[in-house]
């Protein structure tokens, strides 16, 4: 190894250490945060906590607790024609329901021909979730509350919340709020700008009957946000819907759950979010509607719904058919509410709220909004059919990991990792003296690099994954044992320190690579076929083994190079 290579390698090592610390910082911050602070953050800045959780090394269901279910869509009772997209319909329904739990990283996925995987990490309301997932879909049609009434309700909510803000809970909770006041102000400033931009452009789906909202923006700007804790989180007010920027959504939901807020919402009204978020002017929004609670029409009257390609005006359509009885009811409903929007609601979430153009009997057409793609028309027709043709699902795999089991696994996993790690470090230091300490340093770096790589690659840490890390520690020192034993042998045959080190590394390398390659082969196979926790094991093991090639062979070598000048070797 030349002087030059050595310097380059040293630089590389330093760079890798810094990069690792960068990637590990969010995890350390999250894991060392006391529970009380987490709770506080959750109630004040939920989005910040979610961001932090996203950046940190994510924990698997077996450690975090949560729910993993596999559903099978039962198509046996469906007719040939109805089977077509039965799984897609079920998927759509489940996705919609799961969204309501506000779980940080839900996974909903098709598996094979007729199975759906649903994974909800950290969920505690397991029984409710299971009941909800297994339920038949509820498709309802409801009218929206008028713009004037919506504005009145919003004003009341603002008043209630503003009154609350003035009487803060206690000193302790007030402090962190104060410290971020400047930041808050900056954020608010930005929001105002966005709000203005939004109003400046024409909204394609908004309806003519809107109240004038410009007054909101002309008022004294400083007071605006303290007086309107709720509406300042919203945008595009006064139309038939309210735009909630996605970063405000958690807070809006929190406010809406507040009993004092609920008390001012009229009894026959309710708030409902849209199913999906949408991008308006490059910002992500989720629409919020104020609905009239009364169900005007039910999905059970639907016979079929089909998407239609975009026509020459660039519009996509969904055609739908109703039963005879449904047609009569729908005609009465639509005839009485022409030019008013009608919300289509699947399981409590608004899929779409088209404006009623004319009286509709048993066949109708929904014209999608200006920018809607054909895919959105497909989605809406799936939803309409889901209400009409619910395919029953059954849970064929059900894994629920309670928080106490997860905690127990974390504790035991960490304990065995720490104890195992210390035993190995101690053994190496005693048996190989200074060289052992060098190997210990390499193993320590191996561990840091491994965790950082897992965080950077968005891998998930599971209990078998911790076992994989433990195994990696054992195997990583293996490589150093191979090298050191070889160096000892070379020293015994009377070689100089320099020659012994060179020969030791050279001759041990092939055995080290052999052992690692076969381990990597198995890890790759396990990754391909394993279930969640085992995938975690495969990831930890393969990354660990690959990294150990660098730490155990290259890093120790660089350190040994410096010691080559010595006459004797502490080994």
């Amino acid at each position: 190894m030349t002087q030059k290579t050595r310097s380059y390698l040293t630089l590389l090592i330093v760079f890798l250490i810094l990069a690792s610390l960068w990637y590990l910082y969010p995890s350390v911050k999250l894991w060392t945060m006391p529970q009380s602070k987490k709770e506080h953050l959750k109630s004040t800045e939920p989005q910040d906590l979610i961001e932090l959780e996203k950046k940190a090394l994510s924990l698997g269901l077996d450690l975090k607790g949560g729910m993993h279910v596999v559903l099978e869509v039962d198509q046996s009772k469906l007719k040939e024609g109805e089977k077509r997209d039965a799984v897609d319909r079920a998927l759509e329904i489940i996705r919609n329901r799961v969204d309501q739990f506000g779980v940080a990283e839900p996974l909903i996925q098709k598996q094979g021909g007729d199975r759906i995987i649903v994974e909800l990490p950290g969920l505690e309301e397991v029984d409710r979730a299971q009941a909800l997932i297994g339920q038949t879909a509820q498709l309802e049609f409801k009218l929206l509350e008028s713009g004037e009434n919506t504005e009145i309700v919003l004003k009341k909510i603002d008043e209630v919340l503003a009154a609350k803000e003035e009487t803060p809970f206690d000193e302790e909770e007030k402090e962190p709020v104060a410290s971020t006041e400047a930041e808050e102000k900056k954020k608010a400033e930005e929001k105002k700008k966005i709000a203005k931009d939004l109003f400046a452009t024409e909204e394609p789906e908004s309806v003519s009957d809107t109240t004038d909202t410009s007054s909101f923006l002309e008022e004294d700007e400083d007071e605006y946000y303290t007086e309107r804790p709720f509406t300042s989180l919203l945008e595009n007010m006064g139309g038939y819907y309210l735009g909630v920027p996605i970063e405000n959504k958690a807070k809006v939901e929190l406010f809406l759950k507040d009993p004092d807020v609920q008390a001012v919402i009229p009894e026959d009204d309710e708030f409902a979010f849209a199913t999906r978020t949408e991008i308006i002017q490059r910002l992500e929004y989720q629409k919020l509607y104020l609905l009239k609670k009364r169900m005007e029409f039910s999905g059970k009257y639907l016979v079929d719904a089909r998407p239609l390609a975009r026509d020459e005006y660039g519009k996509a359509y969904v055609n739908f058919k109703l039963t005879k009885e449904g047609g009569r009811k729908f005609a009465r409903l639509t005839g009485a509410n022409i030019k008013k929007p009608l919300a289509i609601i699947l399981d409590g979430r608004v899929e779409s709220a088209p404006e009623i153009q004319s009286k509709i009997r048993d066949e109708g057409r929904i014209t999608m909004g200006g920018a809607a793609t054909f895919d959105e028309a497909v989605d809406l027709s799936i939803v309409l059919r889901a209400g009409a043709l619910p395919a029953p699902v059954k849970i064929i795999e059900n894994r629920v990991i309670g928080p106490s089991l997860g905690q127990d696994s974390i504790r035991k996993g960490t304990t065995s990792a720490i104890v195992g790690f210390c035993v190995v470090l101690l053994f190496m230091a005693i048996y190989y003296k200074l060289s052992g300490v060098i190997a210990d340093f390499a193993v320590l770096l191996n561990l840091v690099f491994l965790m950082a790589a897992m965080a950077a690659l968005d891998a998930t840490l599971t209990l078998p994954g911790i076992a994989g890390i433990i195994l990696t520690v054992g195997m990583a020192v293996d490589a150093n044992v191979l090298i050191f034993e070889r160096i000892r042998e070379e020293v015994r045959t009377g070689k100089t320190v320099r020659a012994a080190i060179d020969a030791g590394y050279k001759r041990a390398l092939s055995a080290i690579i052999d052992a690692n390659i076969t381990t990597l082969i198995t890890a790759a196979v396990l990754f391909q076929f394993g279930t969640g926790p085992i995938k975690g094991f495969a990831v930890a093991l393969s990354l660990g083994v690959a990294i150990s090639l660098f730490t155990a062979v290259v890093i120790t070598r660089v350190i040994f190079e410096i010691r080559k000048g010595y006459r004797t070797l502490s080994i």
Partner: protein
């Protein structure tokens, strides 16, 4: 220089017939277990067989016997019950192999039984593992495929890495190691779960370690000993030379897995056990299986020192 072993001169090769006997018997158990698994007759865990496992705690004291009686009175004759040490007292794991396509029903049925049999002593469920028979079948298929592909991959690597005879010996040794661990687990009546399969595959990759190190040395020494000495003593000398290496390399990995076995909790208990067995057997087989195969082959058809 701190050394566990000074220079040794043990006649390993001379003792190969004892080793063959021990390995032979255990391999038969392993094969029996292997065949039983493939036929679906072995004691498969609920991952593969389907079933429901529930963990949770009672508010007041309950003995395992009471719990077992309560379960069998209600049709769960095969219920497996274990008391677990957790922060909360009266913590149990109950496992039944009863299956139904909708697995939530089984868990609910179990909860109903517990509620009926222990009125006033509520059972709080902490975790549930419910696996329907069709999922078990899918997992079985996947595990089988994983075993075949992993073994094929490792064998392929051995073939390109070694020449023919060493390759065959290493292959037999790898299969021997896996079968032996499986055989011992079979004797200990451990259930075959997803994690056990994972452990077996991992040690298939790992146990080769010692054989590789030893074969490297044998090849080196064969060149040196070309003119003097016979084949058996060359191999014996090689084994003695790498003995401390074999022991120490395995020792570090063994230590960490042993600690995992002791404090890792019941989820990874059998997993760690399988790995521990695999590490020991991997070292043993490099000395008593891999090397003697080379020797016996050489004796029957000399191709010496090519």
């Amino acid at each position: 220089m701190l050394e566990i072993l000074k220079k040794t001169k043990i006649d390993f090769i001379g003792k190969r017939y004892y080793a063959f006997a021990i390995s032979g018997i255990l391999v038969i158990f392993g094969l029996a277990a292997f065949i039983a698994i493939f036929l679906g007759k072995a004691d498969l865990g609920i991952d593969f067989a389907g079933g429901t496992m529930m963990q949770g705690y009672f508010e007041q004291e309950v003995t395992i016997g009471e719990l077992r009686d309560a379960m069998s009175r209600n049709g769960y004759d095969d219920a497996f019950i274990q008391s677990l040490h957790r922060e909360v007292p009266h913590y149990f794991m109950i496992r039944v192999k009863t299956t139904a396509e909708d697995v939530t029903q089984i868990a609910q049925g179990m909860l109903d039984v517990l509620e009926k049999e222990f009125p006033g002593n509520k059972f709080h469920k902490d975790s549930v593992d419910g696996i329907g028979p069709s999922v078990g079948k899918t997992l079985q298929k996947q595990a089988r495929l994983a075993v075949l592909i992993a073994l094929a991959g490792i064998l392929f690597y051995i073939w390109i890495r070694f020449d023919f005879r060493f390759g065959v010996a290493a292959t037999i040794t790898t299969l021997h190691d896996v079968l032996l661990v499986l055989g011992i687990l079979f004797i200990l009546q451990r259930e075959v779960t997803l994690l056990i399969v994972t452990a077996l595959l991992t040690l298939a990759g790992y146990s080769l370690n010692d054989t590789v190190v030893l074969f490297d040395r044998v090849r080196e020494n064969l060149k040196l000993f070309r003119k003097k000495g016979d084949f058996a003593s060359t191999i014996n000398a090689s084994i003695n030379e790498v003995l401390s290496r074999t022991i120490i390399t395995s020792l570090t990995t063994f230590l960490v897995v042993f600690i995992l076995f002791l404090v890792g909790g019941e989820v990874v208990h059998d997993f760690a056990l399988a790995l521990m067995l695999g590490i020991i057997i991997g070292s043993y087989s490099s000395i008593f299986v891999a090397s003697p195969i080379i020797l016996e082959w050489e004796k029957r058809s000399p191709r010496r020192f090519k």
